[in-house]
Amino acid sequence: MKIDIVGKRYWWFALSLVFILPGLFSIVTEGLKLGIDFTGGTIWELQMSRPVEPAQVDAVLGQFGYGDALVQTSQNNGIIIRMKELKEGSDTKAQISNALTAKFGATKELEFQAVGPSLGVEIRNRAMVAIVLASIGVLIYIAYAFRNTQNPILYGIAAIIAMLHDVTILVGIFSILGWVSGVEVDSLFVTAVLTVIGFSVHDTIVVFDRIRENLGHRAGRSFEEVVNYSVVQTVVRSLNTSLTVVFTLVALYLFGGESTRWFVFALLIGIICGTYSSIFNASQVLVVWENREIHRFIARLRGGLQRQATTRV
């Protein structure tokens, strides 16, 4: 039985596009719903001693110039207030607290988070830099680790393409979740993205290592055959590694705390994508390059255009 994973590469690329394009479209048109880490603002979670209507809380906030706040209720008489920055330790905060207590009885502060607008911009920039730095660091390392192959940079670039594939799908899904169910992107999300970058490359390298090893004794086989053989050899391992990680993440998703749920969800998506791209995309990119398929495609395109041009004249 011969399993051909590499031969059907354009089908796998097409499947990836099916997942990438909607997300990419959403990123371009809607962007991401940024949390207060990036925009500045306040999230204030309080536990009230009796059920309250969001509108009543809104009215109290309005008296202090925070009328545009978004108030939600949560379990056990909890309320979550989202509003523009309210400084901890400020008189306004004390006044609002007192006013809420006066109107609704004793309150307990469960969580309070406030970020100034300028810091938000700084965190946003740092996040970008971190992602770019991680990509460059990984590229350099792969080029070094594969320095004995014919084309070390190619391995690096293929790994980066697979990684961008994973990150794009992940960010795309969160962009869609943003306007569909209001999921916000925070610094934990950036952490998830960076972890996915690490995992994606981790997974890809294992396959590449096998290609490198098998190329050493290829015995007249074509590059494509060797790559396909290597992918088939490592596929069980790729699936098993991911499965063990997916198991732990599912356990975290089901039993872990509320506050890390979206973080775990992001990791789950990233790791599933990472496994897919390391089996179905990364090595295939090597083959596409090695067979000069893009060159030929462009040449054919150009030839076609020239033919068109000549017939038209």
């Binding site: 400084k87 901890e88 330790g89 400020s90 607290s97 307990k108 469960l110 969580e111 406030a114 970020v115 100034g116 300028s118 810091l119 700084e122 965190i123 740092r126 996040a127 730095l133 991680a134 660091g137 990984v138 390392y141 792969i142 680790a145 610094s187 934990l188 950036v190 952490t191 972890t195 690490g198 490359v201 390298i205 294992v206 290592d209 096998r210 090893e213 098998n214 004794h217 015995a219 060797v226 490592t234 391992r237 098993n240 590694t241 499965l243 063990t244 990680v245 997916v246 198991f247 732990t248 993440l249 356990a251 975290l252 089901l254 039993f255 872990g256 705390g257 506050s259 973080f263 990791l267």
Partner: protein, 488 residues
């Protein structure tokens, strides 16, 4: 007996020793700790687990001025002193960038008050109230300025009393700013300021009453002696930010150390702290804060422990079902891994946050990756018809480059995460990055050395050479392999 088996026994003994020490560190309580060695070794919980306050303060110098690194360090010292005064068990105070200070106060009771204490740009003055008993709360004007320029007065250059003979009636320069009308009350003479103070502390006087003790720098001692000796049995007033907080009566001439009595017992600590903190070098603005209630944290810990046990159990079950005997070895390795990592967290120490615990549980899944790689190789070698002993060694040797290369890429990203984490509210993301880094490093040791040693020790048993133990049918045909096709 071949030589390598002795080495394997040594490695085995080392692993057992290491595991026992880790277990000893991990097991809570001091029943097995007769010498008190574990006193300073414990799990450091992040803010999101034990509740508390995290706040980022930004220096806001007056327009036209910039914050030098010296000023920031000075401010840091002041903040640290104030934080110590708050009596929080494991505070964290550090500078960030060129003009920010990050403060984490786990388990603090009253976050709003704590922020106020940190932020105060207090200028402490001891003034001559001209014989009056100024009540606490009275707002005064001194020869260093009135209440309208409280923030301006906090600049470090304001050395008071440099002109002891200044005419008491001198109009304060600040009156010309016109922001608020200058009070028309009398202008009091400042004797010493916070800059002259060496230390202040709660203590008891000779009749056992709680009082605030203080010592002055030698440069100010003469000046203070002069004043106190000529104003015996008259009041002096302690003023912070132009507001009188206490007006004790001078009961003796004081040169460089004295006591303030008559302060209500509940306020002694606060007053000592306020005195000691002196003035902040620059005003600070809160640009980021996070308060987590303690109940939320405990709930998260309970949930994470359940998730961790569930994760460990599923991964273990999977490994055993899929890889049989080597799978059992990898489960032992995984348990040793968990014990070692948890011990390292306490020793380094790594502050455990929710994200960090998630990273730890995630790393359990990743820790078996090296085993999966090795065992997959082992199965391949067995299918090729190699004997068990050779297959075990080949499995480990061939899998090593992949394990090394792939783990280094994870280490690179976790190092960058650590850098990024510093700018997004300190410990939460850094905790995750450190956890991942430690996890990956330790997993390389446990997955390789531990499983290899265990398997090698078992090789002396005859039953192990049955391929069933490895999930490979003894009669299975070798798969086509390019190496064999090449006559390798």
């Amino acid at each position: 007996m071949r030589g390598f088996r002795w080495n394997t026994w040594y490695t085995f003994a080392f692993i057992v020793l290491l595991t026992l020490s880790a277990a000893w560190i991990d097991i809570p309580g001091d029943r097995i700790d007769p010498f008190g060695w574990k006193q300073h070794v414990f799990v450091h919980q992040g803010l999101d687990l034990q509740g508390g306050l995290q706040v980022v303060l930004q220096a806001k110098p007056a327009p036209g001025q910039s914050v030098s690194s010296g000023t920031l360090q000075g401010t840091l010292t002041t903040i640290k002193r104030r934080v110590n005064g708050l009596g929080v068990s494991e505070p964290l105070v550090q500078t960030r960038g060129s003009d920010q200070i990050v403060v984490e106060l786990p388990g603090v009771d009253n976050p709003a008050n704590a922020v106020k204490v940190l932020q105060q740009t207090a200028l402490l003055e001891i003034i001559d109230p001209k014989g009056q008993q100024l009540a606490p709360g009275t707002v005064v004007t001194t020869n260093l300025g009135g209440p309208e320029n409280v923030n301006g007065a906090a600049t470090p250059g304001a050395t008071p009393g440099a002109t002891p003979g200044a005419t008491p009636g001198a109009t304060p320069a600040a009156g010309t700013t016109g922001a608020t009308p200058a009070p028309t009350g009398p202008v009091y003479q400042t004797i010493v300021t916070g800059a002259d103070l060496k230390d202040a502390f709660p203590t008891t006087d000779n009749i056992g009453q709680l009082v605030v003790g203080f010592t002055l720098k030698s440069s100010a001692a003469d000046k203070f002696y002069q004043f106190t000796s000529s104003h015996l049995n008259q009041p002096m007033s302690i003023v912070i930010d132009k507001t009188v907080i206490s007006s004790p009566t001078i009961q003796g001439a004081i040169r460089d150390s004295g006591q303030i009595s008559g302060v209500p017992a509940t306020q002694v600590n606060d007053l000592a702290l306020q005195l000691k903190s002196g003035a902040l070098a620059v005003p600070l603005e809160v640009i980021q804060s996070q308060v987590v209630g303690p109940t939320l944290g405990q709930d998260s810990i309970d949930k994470s422990i359940i998730a961790g046990i569930a994760g460990l159990a599923i991964v273990g079950l999977f490994m055993i079902l899929f890889y049989r005997l080597p799978g059992v070895m990898s489960v032992f390795a995984l348990l040793i891994y968990t014990a070692l990592v948890f011990a390292l967290f306490q020793l380094i120490p790594v502050t455990l946050t929710l994200a960090g615990i998630a990273g730890f549980i995630l790393s359990i899944g990743m820790a078996v990756d090296a085993n999966v790689l090795i065992f997959a190789r082992l199965k391949e070698e067995l299918r090729m018809g190699h004997p068990v002993r050779r297959a075990v060694d080949a499995g480990f040797d061939h899998a090593w480059p992949s394990i090394r290369d792939s783990n280094i890429s994870t280490m690179i990203t976790s190092a960058i995460l650590f850098w990024f984490g510093r700018y997004t509210g300190a410990s939460i993301i850094q905790g995750f990055a450190l956890t991942l880094f430690v996890g990956v490093s330790v997993s390389m040791f446990t997955a390789i050395t531990v499983t290899r040693t265990f398997l090698r020790l078992l090789l002396s048993q005859t039953w192990i050479h049955n391929h069933w133990w490895f999930g490979v049918e003894a009669t299975s045909m070798p798969l086509p392999n390019p190496r064999e096709a090449a006559g390798d």
